[in-house]
Amino acid sequence: MSAVTTSARASRARIFLRHETVLAALLIVALFGLGLFNDRFLTVDNLLNQGRLMTEIGLIALPMTFVIITGGIDVSVGAMVGLCAIVLGYSWKNLGFPLPLAVVFSLAVGAAAGLANGLVITRIKVPAIITTIATLTLFRGLAEGISQAHSVRGYPDWFYFLGQGDVFGVPTQLLILIIAIAVFGVVLDRTSFGRTLYAIGSNETAARFSALPVDRVKLTAYTLSGLMSGISAFVLVSRVTTTRSDMGMGYELDAIAAVLLGGTSVFGGSGTIWGSVIGLVMIQLLKNGLALTGVKGDATIMVIGVVLIASVLIASSLQRRRE
């Protein structure tokens, strides 16, 4: 909108003030700051281990970026993780599915759950926030109902390769996350699907009048959100070796925080995968750094809340200064 009239000096300032740039600088400062505080922090082992731990949130944060760019939101992701985990464990243990089939089945259930969100949002036009609040309760409720509070354990050894194994010294799931980041990044940047996401977020009516397949693209974004929640559940179950109905609780907060911290506007129309990745890494390192300096796990939830509000406050005041 104001891009045409911006002077050269302002555009130089803009590159400097770009959310991702500021964030990347902050990240480097935080890394060394935390490294100075604790000599166990800046070690290869610790950093790789943190990569392992952030994969579950990361896999969800990628489609979440898509969804938020369209101006929507999905707060049901944590519940979908719980549902997929339960479906995986239940269909294997109680229905007698072979484990690979159980995994595929749980991914299909995740995709179906996401598709259901998308259908209610695009067909019936219920606002995304309300739809996903309702399905959050529903999916978590289904997980609780199916499991009847029983946990499933005793998976075969090969199953743990994904969650606990290494490939060339790199945690298996971190490789999957890296591949997923590359795919989502390219799709967002270089495909008409990705560009349509931005068009919908900036002005949905205009996108519709430009004959863009608005509903189909939104439907795909929410379905991806469900599918990736399923993959996240698979990784999670494989890492912690058990299945419980309260799995993934609160994941929505971490994923949304990572995306917003990464500079994606909650009003839609702007945002990048790279930003979300930096946001994700920031949150994980913050958690880890704080834990190493002796802050308890629960207090780090508090810090994430502060960071979330602060980052959006700063982003909106930067935005205002630009305009």
């Binding site: 606002p127 309760t137 529903l138 409720g141 609780e144 939830i301 508090m302 502060v306």
Partner: protein
């Protein structure tokens, strides 16, 4: 735009029917109908002490749903209220154990609730950060803060005088029920007939039109959040005093139960429409359903699935009904 069209009821016989066939009468009918059906299956459901338990144990949800309704009517949402109620209950209980005067323990959650919610209202109204983000952040601040301060320890040995829920008005109406009914009535009257209360609907229907007619959307929004905090304070008090112990953690999923009550009660998620009477009735209905499941031998682990289905169905019905009315108004 749509809000104006909705207030104009079609003329003729349909008006009378529609007047009667509101969300409130529908809910009241559902409450009675469910009681009859479950009572036939298992007469113990209708025992006086079970019905009293349903009301007593859930009055705090209804009270919190009043404030939530106001917030949703303005077109916003708050998902921090469950965590806030947990924090306020703990503060109140800790003060009581520390020997503070009972009046102080009862007033502290109200004041603190207004302060926290008012602050969120200021950020939403004046800085322009969406309510979903602010309250999501506040949720984790409150949740994390509470657990790291208390370590999840239960508060016990509460002084006898602290238990608001033990007081009975006229010797038979328990205090929580009286507060629930009283708060709903006051809020309903205020929102129906006072200009300040009407302003809540105005900014939810069309903020720009409201501004042009002399209502300050920002100030009204801060007021709504502050009131929501006040009701959350009362809810926390009822929550804290209903048992002899206070679990100093945030009741998980409470915010969703409260939002469900508001939405099932007929508060439109698109803003501008809804009443607090509906929200209170819906809170009672949800509590009744939860209790009924136990009496017809359904595992309590299915409660959330039923609740989720209920909210989804109501929301879809709400949108469909609006669409049909809009289509009717355009004809």
């Amino acid at each position: 735009m749509s809000a104006i069209a909705l207030f104009r009821a079609p003329a003729g016989r349909a008006t009378l029917w529609r007047r009667f066939f509101t969300q409130e009468t529908l809910l009241a009918g559902a409450i009675i109908g469910l009681a009859v059906v479950v009572g036939l299956i298992n007469p113990r459901f209708l025992a006086a002490n079970n019905l009293a338990d349903i009301l007593l144990g859930n009055a705090y949800v209804a009270v919190a749903a009043i404030g939530m309704s106001m917030v949703i009517i303005t077109g916003n949402i708050d998902i921090s209220v469950g965590a806030l109620i947990g924090v306020l209950a703990t503060v109140s209980g800790s003060l009581a154990v520390a020997g503070a005067p009972i009046v102080v323990t009862w007033l502290a959650p109200l004041v603190l609730g207004v302060a926290v919610m008012g602050l969120q209202g200021v950020i939403v109204a004046y800085v322009g950060v969406p309510a979903i983000v602010v309250t999501l952040g506040m949720l984790s601040i409150l949740k994390g803060g509470l657990i790291s301060v208390t370590g999840g320890k239960w508060i016990t040995d509460l002084p006898v005088a602290f238990h608001l829920a033990d007081i009975e008005i006229f010797g038979f109406i328990p205090m929580p029920v009286a507060i629930m009914v009283g708060a709903t009535a006051v809020a309903a009257v205020w929102m129906r007939w006072w200009p300040r209360g009407r302003a809540i609907y105005a900014i939810g229907g069309n903020a720009e039109a409201a501004r042009l007619s002399g209502v300050s959307p920002r100030r009204t929004l801060v007021l709504v959040f502050a009131l929501h905090g006040f009701f959350a304070g009362i809810a926390a008090l009822l929550f804290a005093t209903q048992l002899r112990v206070i679990q100093s953690t945030t009741p998980s999923g409470l915010e969703f139960t409260i939002i469900t009550a508001a939405v099932v009660g007929g508060v439109s998620i698109l803003g501008g429409v809804g009443t607090v009477v509906g929200a209170t009735l819906a809170a009672v209905l949800i509590a009744e359903i939860t209790s009924a499941l136990v009496f017809i031998n359904v595992s309590p682990f299915w409660t959330h699935a039923v609740q989720g289905t209920l909210i989804l169905a109501t929301v879809i019905a709400d949108i469909e009904r609006r669409r049909r009315r809009l289509a009717g108004a355009a004809r």
